[in-house]
C-alpha cells in the first residue's frame, strides 16, 4: 500500500471548512466587527496560497473561512434595504396595525388552513394615508372564510400564484408577548423571511390588478394538492386527516391541538413536519423504483431529483424541506459521478451552500436540529451499527483473519442479531479451505424474516434514536425544555405506521375516482392505522412517562450547553476509532479514552437533566414580574427567601358553541405553555411554591393548567371553585392528578412568606360553589417592609366599594389595576385611596375590548401614579428591599 501523501489532512475536508465557516458566523454575531472579518479573510487567504501543501496552509485556509463566515453575516445584516417593509415598520414610519393598502404579486400557492387560508405577497407598493411608497419584502396574509358569500367571492377572485393584487389591511410587525427569555414572534417571522403579517377582514378588500406570467403546470399541481386536502378532510376523521395532510402534503394548519401535543410529548413531532425523514424516505422509494426502469445513472439522478424538488415546491418549499432535498441531491450527485460519497463531506457541502445563502440560519433552531441530528447519525450511529454488524457477521477473510476482540457478551449479542448460519454454509462450501466457527448466539433464530429482521430493525432504530437524542439533548432543553426518553421507542412505532397511513389514504383517494365501494375499506383501514398509531403515545402520556420538562441554566453556567456536544463529539470519535479487528495493541489508549469520554458525557447529561442550582438564589428582596400575556393577567412574585407565587397564568378564551359541538381546536401554542412556562423555565424554575387562581376566566386560569402540567406545584389558592366551569375543571383535574394541596381562601386570611405578609382581601367569607364572577376575584395585598403591593384581579366597582367600606388599609405603592383597565373598575374613590406610585395594567397591545379605557388611565395618572401597560412595555419588573422600589421594563 502506498504511503498516504503528506497532503492528507482529513478525509472530510468540506466538513472542516463548513465547521470553520459556521464558527465564523457564530462568533461574528457576538464579537466581530466588519473590518476585523475582512482583515482576517484577506490576511489569511493570501498566505494560505503561499503555504499550499503544508500544515500551515491548511490552518490558514481554515482561518480564512472563519473570516469569510463573519463577512457573510455582516453582508446579510447590511442587506436589509431601506425600502423593505420590515425596515419601514421598524423605523416607525408606520405603526404596526395601522390600515394600509399593499400591492404585490402572489408568491406561491395559497396555503389552506382552518377557517381560511394564507397567501404570501411579494410587496411592491405600500400606500399609507394616501401616500404611495415603493417597497420590497414578503408579507403573509390570512384570509378568513366565515360565510358562503366570502367563499364565493374568493372563488371568483381566483388568487393564483403570480396574480397581482392590492389589499387593504392592517399590517403588523410588532411583537406581542415581550418577556425575557421568550422567543418573540418577530424573530420567528424573520426566520421564515416574512416582513409583516395581516388578517384581511373580507375578500371585498382585495382588488385584482393583473396577472403576471405564471407557470402553468405548477398551478395545476397546487390545485391537485388543494383538492387532496379537501378530500382528506371530508373522508377522514379530524385527527387522521390532520396527520395525513401534514405528513403527505405538508399542510400544518389542520392538525388539532390534542393530536399535535401527543406527538410533541412523545418526541415524534418531527414526523408531522416535512423534514429530512420524509425526503429521504420518498427519495429512497423513488430511487428504488427508477432503478427498475433504467440503468443509466444520469437518468436516475435527474428523475429522482426532479420528483423530489417538485414535491418540495408543492408542499410549500419550506426551508427545512429544501435543506433536506439539497442534501439528498448532493448525495446522489456523488453516486452519479461514481464517487463513493463520504456522508460527512456531503453534509459539509450542503452546510456551506446553505450558510453562504443565508448565514443567519445558523441561529435557527430548525437548522441546528437538522444538521446536528444528521451529523449524529452519520458520525456515531451508522459507524457503531456497522461495527456491530461486522462483529456479528465475522468470518475469516484476508482483512479480518482473527475473531474480533470485544467483551464476550457483546460478541454474543451481535451474533444473535446478525449471524446467519445459512449464508456462512453457502460461502464456506465455495472455499478451498474449510473451517469451523464457534458462534454462540443467545438463541438460535428459527426464522430470518420473521424473527431476525424485525429484531434487527428495532435494535438499530433504537440505537439511532437514542444517539440522536443524546446529541440533541442540549438543544432540546434550551429550545423545547423537554426531554423525551420514550421517543426512542415511539419513533419506531409511529414512523412506519405513519407511512402506511399516508400511503393507504392516498391510495384510497385515487381508487375513489374509480369506485367508491373499493375506496371505503381503504379509508376504514386508514382510520384503523391512525387509531393504532395514536395508541402508543397516548399510553405513554397517560402513565406520564413520555416526556420530562426541564428548565435551563442562566448566566455563565450556560456554557455547559456547549460543552455537552463537544463531549458527544469526543465520544463519537472514540467509537469511530474503535477497531475490534485491529491486530496491534492500541486498545489500552482507546479504552481509557472511551471510558473517560463516556463518563464525562454521562456526567454532563446528568447535570443538564437534573439541573441542580438552576433556580436563582434568594436575594432578600421582594420581586414582582408582571408578565406580558396579551389580554390576561399573570404575575410572578418572588419572595425574599426565594419562594415563588404565580398569580394567574394568562390564557386565550376558547370560543365554545355550547357543549354539543366539539369545535376544532387548531394547534396554536397555549399562552400558559409558550409564554408563562417558557418564562419560568428560562429563569431556571422547575417548581412553583404557590399558584393563585383569582377567578375562573379563561384569560387568567387557562395558563395555570399548563403551568400545573409543566411544573411541580407546592400549593394552589382559590377564591371560589365552581367545578362545573370548563377552565376550572381542567385545572382542578391537573392538580388532583398531581396531589397538589388546594386551599380556598377568603377575606381575612393572611400568612407570612419569607418576611413578607400576604393578606387576602376578597372574596368575602360567605363562599359557596356558586358562579365565580369578576367580583369574586381573589384580591391580594402583599407587604414587605414599608412597601405594599395590591393585586386587584378582575374586581369591578361593586367589590371595590365593598373594599372601601371595609376597614382594610388600601394605600399601596404598586397596584395591579383591576380588569385590565376597564371602566367597570377603578372607581374614583378607590383610586384616590390607593394613590400608588405605580399602576400596572396587564393588557395586550391592541385589545379587542378597548382596554385600557382612556378615562381609567387618566384617573390613575391624576392620582399621581405612573401608569404602565404590559402590552407596551413587555414584562414589568418591580423589586423592593422594603424601602426603595426599583422598576424595570423589558422594553425601556
Amino acid at each position: 500500500m502506498t504511503e498516504p501523501s503528506r497532503l492528507t489532512f482529513t478525509l472530510n475536508p468540506l466538513a472542516w471548512l463548513a465547521a470553520s465557516f459556521a464558527l465564523g458566523i457564530a462568533v461574528a454575531e457576538y464579537l466581530f466587527s466588519e473590518k476585523f472579518a475582512i482583515v482576517l479573510l484577506v490576511f489569511a487567504a493570501l498566505p494560505a496560497l503561499l503555504f499550499a501543501g503544508r500544515m500551515a496552509g491548511t490552518a490558514l485556509l481554515l482561518v480564512s473561512f472563519f473570516g469569510l463566515g463573519g463577512f457573510a453575516l455582516q453582508m446579510q445584516k447590511t442587506g436589509i434595504f431601506p425600502h423593505r417593509v420590515r425596515a419601514i415598520y421598524e423605523k416607525g414610519l408606520i405603526a404596526s396595525g395601522e390600515p394600509v393598502e399593499v400591492e404585490g404579486v402572489i408568491n406561491g400557492p395559497a396555503e389552506p388552513a382552518f377557517g381560511g387560508f394564507f397567501i404570501k405577497l411579494d410587496a411592491k407598493l405600500l400606500t399609507y394615508k394616501g401616500e404611495e411608497m415603493r417597497v420590497s419584502g414578503i408579507v403573509r396574509l390570512f384570509l378568513p372564510i366565515d360565510s358562503e358569500e366570502m367563499a364565493a367571492d374568493f372563488r371568483r377572485l381566483n388568487l393564483e400564484p403570480a396574480t397581482r393584487i392590492a389589499v387593504a389591511c392592517g399590517l403588523e410587525r410588532a411583537s406581542r408577548f415581550l418577556n425575557p427569555g421568550v422567543i418573540s414572534r418577530r424573530e420567528i417571522l424573520d426566520r421564515q423571511g416574512i416582513d409583516a403579517v395581516a388578517s384581511v377582514k373580507s375578500p371585498l378588500l382585495i382588488e385584482k390588478i393583473g396577472q403576471d406570467a405564471g407557470f402553468g403546470p405548477v398551478a395545476s399541481i397546487y390545485r391537485i394538492r388543494q383538492d387532496l386536502i379537501d378530500e382528506f378532510r371530508v373522508r377522514l376523521s379530524t385527527p387522521a386527516a390532520g396527520m395525513v395532510i401534514a405528513t403527505a402534503l405538508g399542510g400544518r394548519h389542520f392538525l388539532d391541538s390534542e393530536t399535535a401535543n401527543l406527538f410533541r410529548e412523545g418526541g415524534t413531532f418531527h414526523i408531522l413536519v416535512i423534514s429530512g425523514l420524509h425526503i429521504t424516505f420518498l427519495g429512497g422509494i423513488a430511487f428504488l423504483f427508477i432503478r427498475l426502469l433504467t440503468k443509466k445513472r444520469w437518468l436516475q439522478f435527474i428523475a429522482v431529483n426532479s420528483f423530489l424538488w417538485t414535491f418540495t415546491m408543492v408542499v410549500g418549499a419550506e426551508i427545512p424541506a429544501m435543506r433536506a432535498s439539497l442534501m439528498f441531491t448532493i448525495l446522489t450527485f456523488g453516486y452519479l459521478i461514481y464517487r463513493p460519497t463520504s456522508s460527512l463531506n456531503s453534509l459539509g457541502a450542503s452546510a456551506i451552500i446553505l450558510l453562504a445563502a443565508r448565514p443567519g440560519d445558523i441561529f435557527d433552531p430548525s437548522f441546528q436540529l437538522t444538521f446536528l441530528s444528521v451529523a449524529a447519525i452519520v458520525t456515531t450511529a451508522f459507524p457503531l451499527i456497522g461495527k456491530l454488524r461486522e462483529i456479528g457477521n465475522w468470518s475469516p477473510t484476508a482483512e479480518t483473519p482473527f475473531p474480533p476482540r470485544a467483551p464476550r457478551a457483546l460478541i454474543r449479542f451481535c451474533e444473535t442479531l446478525y449471524w446467519r448460519e445459512r449464508t456462512w454454509e453457502i460461502n464456506a462450501s465455495r472455499q478451498v479451505w474449510s473451517a469451523r466457527l464457534f458462534k454462540t448466539p443467545f438463541f438460535k433464530n428459527p426464522g430470518d424474516f420473521v424473527i431476525r429482521r424485525p429484531l434487527v430493525f428495532m435494535f438499530e432504530g433504537a440505537v439511532v434514536s437514542a444517539i440522536v437524542q443524546l446529541w440533541l439533548l442540549p438543544l432540546l432543553i434550551v429550545y423545547f425544555h423537554r426531554v423525551t426518553p420514550a421517543s426512542v421507542v415511539l419513533n419506531l412505532w409511529v414512523g412506519p405506521l405513519m407511512a402506511i397511513e399516508a400511503a393507504t389514504a392516498l391510495l384510497g383517494v385515487s381508487v375513489a375516482g374509480i369506485s367508491e365501494a373499493l375506496a371505503a375499506p381503504l379509508f376504514a383501514f386508514t382510520e384503523l392505522v391512525s387509531r393504532l398509531l395514536l395508541f402508543a403515545p397516548a399510553l405513554f402520556q397517560s402513565i406520564d412517562f413520555a416526556s420530562v420538562r426541564i428548565p435551563v441554566y442562566s448566566g455563565n453556567i450556560k456554557v455547559i450547553y456547549l460543552i455537552a456536544p463537544a463531549a458527544a463529539a469526543a465520544a463519537s470519535s472514540i467509537i469511530t476509532g474503535w477497531q475490534p479487528f485491529a491486530l496491534s495493541g492500541r486498545r489500552k489508549i482507546s479504552l481509557i479514552g472511551g471510558i473517560s469520554a463516556g463518563i464525562m458525557l454521562v456526567f454532563l447529561s446528568g447535570v443538564i437533566l437534573i439541573h441542580p442550582q438552576s433556580t436563582p438564589d434568594p436575594t432578600g428582596q421582594l420581586r414582582v414580574d408582571f408578565l406580558d400575556v396579551g389580554q390576561g393577567d399573570s404575575a410572578l412574585v418572588t419572595f425574599p427567601n426565594g419562594e415563588t407565587m404565580l398569580i394567574d397564568g394568562g390564557g386565550r378564551p376558547r370560543f365554545r358553541n355550547g357543549d354539543d359541538e366539539p369545535r376544532f381546536e387548531p394547534d396554536i401554542p397555549h399562552i400558559g405553555e409558550a409564554v408563562v412556562s417558557e418564562f419560568l423555565w428560562e429563569r431556571g424554575y422547575s417548581r412553583i411554591d404557590y399558584i393563585v387562581a383569582t377567578h375562573a376566566d379563561a384569560d387568567h386560569m387557562q395558563g395555570l393548567a399548563d403551568v400545573a402540567r409543566n411544573f411541580r406545584i407546592g400549593a394552589a389558592l382559590f377564591g371560589r371553585m365552581p367545578r362545573e366551569d370548563a377552565e376550572m375543571a381542567e385545572l382542578y383535574r391537573e392538580l388532583k392528578k398531581r396531589s397538589v394541596a388546594m386551599h380556598e381562601t377568603a377575606s381575612g386570611e393572611s400568612f407570612q412568606i419569607g418576611g413578607a405578609v400576604v393578606e387576602v382581601l376578597n372574596p368575602s367569607i360567605q363562599s359557596g360553589e356558586g358562579f365565580s364572577g369578576n367580583d369574586d376575584s381573589v384580591v391580594l395585598r402583599i407587604s414587605f417592609g414599608s412597601r405594599v403591593f395590591l393585586f386587584m384581579g378582575d374586581v369591578e366597582n361593586k367589590a371595590e366599594r365593598q373594599l372601601l367600606a371595609s376597614s382594610k388599609s388600601l394605600k399601596a405603592d404598586v397596584v395591579k389595576v383591576a380588569h385590565h383597565g376597564s371602566r367597570t373598575s377603578s372607581i374614583k374613590e378607590f383610586v384616590n385611596t390607593a394613590r400608588p406610585a405605580y399602576a400596572v395594567i396587564s393588557v395586550g397591545r391592541h385589545s379587542t375590548f378597548g382596554h385600557p379605557h382612556r378615562e381609567v388611565v387618566d384617573r390613575w395618572s391624576a392620582a399621581g401614579a405612573e401608569v404602565m401597560t404590559t402590552g407596551e412595555k413587555g414584562t414589568i419588573t418591580i423589586m423592593t428591599d422594603g424601602q426603595a422600589i426599583h422598576v424595570s421594563r423589558y422594553l425601556p
Binding site: 395601522e98 390600515p99 393598502e101 399609507y128 394615508k129 394616501g130 366565515d146 360565510s147 358569500e149 366570502m150 364565493a152 372563488r155 371568483r156 387593504a168 389591511c169 392592517g170 377582514k201 373580507s202 371585498l204 378588500l205 382588488e207 391537485i224 383538492d227 387532496l228 379537501d230 378530500e231 432503478r291 427498475l292 426502469l293 392516498l506 383517494v509 385515487s510 381508487v511 375513489a512 375516482g513 374509480i514 375506496a519
Partner: protein, 113 residues
C-alpha cells in the same frame, strides 16, 4: 437486486410508466371536487344615484344607513380624518366595527368619489 430476464424487462418498460400514470389519472379524477356551482360572473354592485358618498358624508348621514349607529358613525368620521379619503367603498371595511356581514348589507347604498 433481482435479475430480470429479457422478456420481463420488456414488461417492465411497458407496465412501469403506465402504472404510475394510471394512478395519477385516477387521482385527478378522484379529486374533481364538484366545481359546478361556481357563481355567475361578478355581480356589478351598481349603487343607486342616491348612494351616499362616504368621502363627504357627515356622521348624521352615516347613521341613516341600516346597521350603523352613532358610535360607528363617529368612528368612520375619525378614521377618515386620520387616514384620508376612502379610495373605494370597500375600504369602509377597515373601520373597526364594520365586518363583512354588515358591509354587505349597506354596500349598495354607498359610493366613493
Amino acid at each position: 437486486m433481482m435479475r430480470f430476464c429479457n422478456y420481463c424487462k420488456t414488461r417492465i418498460y411497458i407496465v412501469g410508466p403506465i402504472l404510475p400514470l394510471a394512478i395519477i389519472v385516477a387521482m385527478l379524477a378522484g379529486c374533481q371536487a364538484p366545481h359546478s356551482d361556481y357563481p355567475p360572473a361578478a355581480e356589478q354592485v351598481i349603487a343607486a344615484s342616491y348612494a351616499l358618498d362616504i368621502n363627504t358624508a357627515t356622521a348624521v348621514e352615516f347613521e341613516r344607513l341600516p346597521s350603523v349607529g352613532a358610535i360607528l358613525a363617529e368612528r368612520i368620521i375619525e378614521f377618515r380624518e386620520k387616514y384620508g379619503r376612502f379610495r373605494r367603498p370597500e375600504h369602509l371595511l377597515m373601520v373597526q366595527g364594520i365586518g363583512d356581514a354588515r358591509f354587505r348589507r349597506i354596500r349598495h347604498l354607498i359610493k366613493a368619489e
